[in-house]
């Protein structure tokens, strides 16, 4: 129910966006092969629903798996970085460098190693999520108020427990911020993976449709993808709030 309540502003936004879009199409008279009208897209959605449904299934699996693995490994990396001095010196720059590499450049190599099955796509989605999560989590873990660290020290906490019971919960708000962002980026990762090599999934469908100038079909796939991304964002948001019952959120009350 709260999820539903959380989702309604997104719905409103969606409607607003659709309105904007239709307005744009009408106002600029942009041809359909550049930007189809929402109506055309909805029509395509209806006509090709079977096709879309099939490819959506594939992509959803990739996204969800990528999101899970990406968030988890990002979190673990951040924890490891916060835990071990040595890692910070070497792993952090490597991480950074890997983040700065356009994934597209690596895609053929990944495909060579992982084949063109679902694994490669999950790896791509994972990679695109991994860095933002690792980076924001690590930033969050670093900013624990000194007083709590002092307390942990006098209470005889070892590094592991200090990390897990003090730094990690203290970093949850920052972490939530990173995860929310990652959730909405996950579909992009999967799609990039599909673009590089696949014969299934929404990304494949989009490129394929684009190559055939079936722009309405492409936008229908895009619409599904975006809806999924937004839904993931809100799901992640709800999850994060659930994990932080103590956390005051001032979205609603403050001007």
């Amino acid at each position: 129910m709260t999820l539903l309540k959380r989702l309604w502003p997104a719905m409103l936004g969606l409607v607003a966006l659709l309105g904007l879009w239709q307005g744009l199409v009408v106002a600029t008279g942009v041809p359909g092969y550049v930007l189809p009208s929402p109506l055309a897209v909805v029509q395509a959605l209806a006509t090709h629903h079977q096709l879309l449904w099939h490819h959506t299934g594939i992509t959803v699996i990739e996204i969800v798996a990528g999101l899970l693995i990406g968030c988890l490994s990002g979190l673990l990396t951040a924890l490891a970085l916060a835990r071990f001095h040595g890692l910070r010196r070497t792993l952090l720059p490597i991480l950074l460098i890997s983040q700065a590499i356009p994934l597209f450049a690596l895609a053929p190599i990944l495909m060579l190693w992982l084949g063109y099955g679902m694994t490669a796509k999950i790896v791509m989605a994972t990679l695109i999520i991994y860095f933002p999560v690792a980076s924001t989590c690590y930033d969050g873990l670093r900013q624990t108020p000194q007083g709590w660290l002092d307390l942990a020290q006098t209470l005889g906490a070892d590094r592991r427990r200090r990390l897990l019971r003090i730094q990690l919960p203290a970093a949850l708000p920052a972490l939530a911020s990173g995860m929310r962002m990652a959730a909405s980026a996950a579909p992009i990762g999967a799609v990039i993976g599909e673009w590089v090599g696949s014969s299934q999934g929404l990304g494949y469908l989009m490129l394929n449709a684009n190559a055939r100038m079936q722009v309405d079909l492409m936008f229908a796939a895009l619409l599904i993808l975006v809806t999924f991304g937004v839904a993931l964002y809100f799901a992640m948001d709800a999850l994060m709030r659930h994990l932080m019952p103590w956390h005051e959120d001032r979205t609603g009350t403050q001007g």
Binding site: L112, S199, N208, M213
Partner: protein, 317 residues
């Protein structure tokens, strides 16, 4: 003769084994998403021609045409569809690739303009902006055509528009596009209500070549020679059948994937049929030597490779 026996021995053995036993499985990567230029492959699969030749063929589409040759070179897949001009560059860069068959035996590549643009010949392109999709040789081919028509290459502006060739032209973001496929992009333009005009590359000073070819890994070729030969035979049969039965062919083609059933594909189907190689395995060695020489002269490759490194005729060991 002894050598010949040794070479054909394993192939023969394989042939016999396959007649009764499990088929050879081949992974074949197309150059791009499935489209009418792939008709013989699709039809051969649809009509079971590969099975008839003891082959179990898997067709895979990439999104980036530069990937399939790499995968073949790396031994990840058996055969890939590629383009003859690219083959020369790839071999020059040391990739162990060799042409083993031809799918489309003429260039499809063309320079397109809008029919209403007032550009009547390539010579009118001086001072214009030309869009292309980076393929490696687009620039040199265009430059050759321009020079052939007395236009200095510096006088045109080339812009990479990636895969948005048709929209860029229709939307008049560029005055011409090059590297477009004459069988496809023209149909696409017509679909959007814009009539196009094509300048054919082989008529504008560029040596003719095979647009779509099958490449295999040179290092492992011998082990698969027989299977590849049978593959080409199946392609040849499929091509012949399509030409004999164009309408049935279209029906079978679109049944492969419902998404293929579009008006543009229907039109492109007709445009493509005459261009399929009727003897896919046959090799016109002169073409390869001439194009190699052309690229060398244009400074696109570092050294001239012998024909045997570029292409083989599977049926003439």
């Amino acid at each position: 003769l002894a050598l010949l026996l040794v070479l054909s021995g394993p192939a023969l053995a394989a042939e016999e084994r396959n007649g009764t036993d499990t088929p050879d499985s081949l992974k074949v990567m197309l150059d791009w998403y499935t489209n009418p230029t792939h008709a013989p492959l699709v039809i051969a699969k649809q009509r079971g021609l590969f099975q008839d030749h003891g082959l179990d063929v898997e067709l895979i589409s990439p999104a980036d045409p530069s990937v399939p040759p790499k995968l073949v070179a790396a031994g990840k897949i058996d055969l890939a569809l590629s383009y003859q001009p690219q083959l020369h560059l790839q071999v020059d860069q040391g990739l162990p690739l060799v042409r083993v068959g031809t799918l489309v035996a003429t260039p499809l590549n063309a320079t397109l303009v809008r029919a209403d643009s007032g550009i009547e010949s390539m010579a009118d392109l001086a001072g214009k902006r030309i869009g292309y999709s980076v393929g490696g040789v687009e620039e040199v081919l265009l430059n050759t055509m321009l020079e052939h028509n007395g236009v200095a290459p510096e006088n045109v502006e080339m812009v990479n528009v990636n895969f948005a060739l048709t929209p860029a032209l229709i939307g008049e973001k560029v005055d011409a596009i090059t590297g477009a496929f004459r069988n496809f992009e023209l149909a696409q333009m017509a679909q959007e209500g814009v009539e196009g005009r094509a300048f054919y590359i082989e008529e504008e000073g560029v040596p003719t070549y095979d647009e779509l070819i099958f490449v295999a890994n040179r290092d492992t070729l011998d082990a698969h020679r027989a299977a590849y030969a049978r593959f080409m035979a199946a392609i040849g049969e499929a091509t012949a059948w399509i030409i004999n039965h164009p309408e049935e062919g279209w029906e079978a083609f679109k049944a492969y994937d419902p998404a293929l059933d579009t008006p543009v594909n229907r039109k492109a189907w007709e445009n493509t049929l005459p261009r399929f190689a009727l003897r896919p395995a046959a090799l016109d060695g002169q073409r390869y030597e001439a194009f190699e020489a052309f690229l060398l002269e244009r400074g696109q490759i570092k050294a001239k490779s012998p024909l045997s490194r570029l292409a083989v005729d599977l049926n003439r060991p």
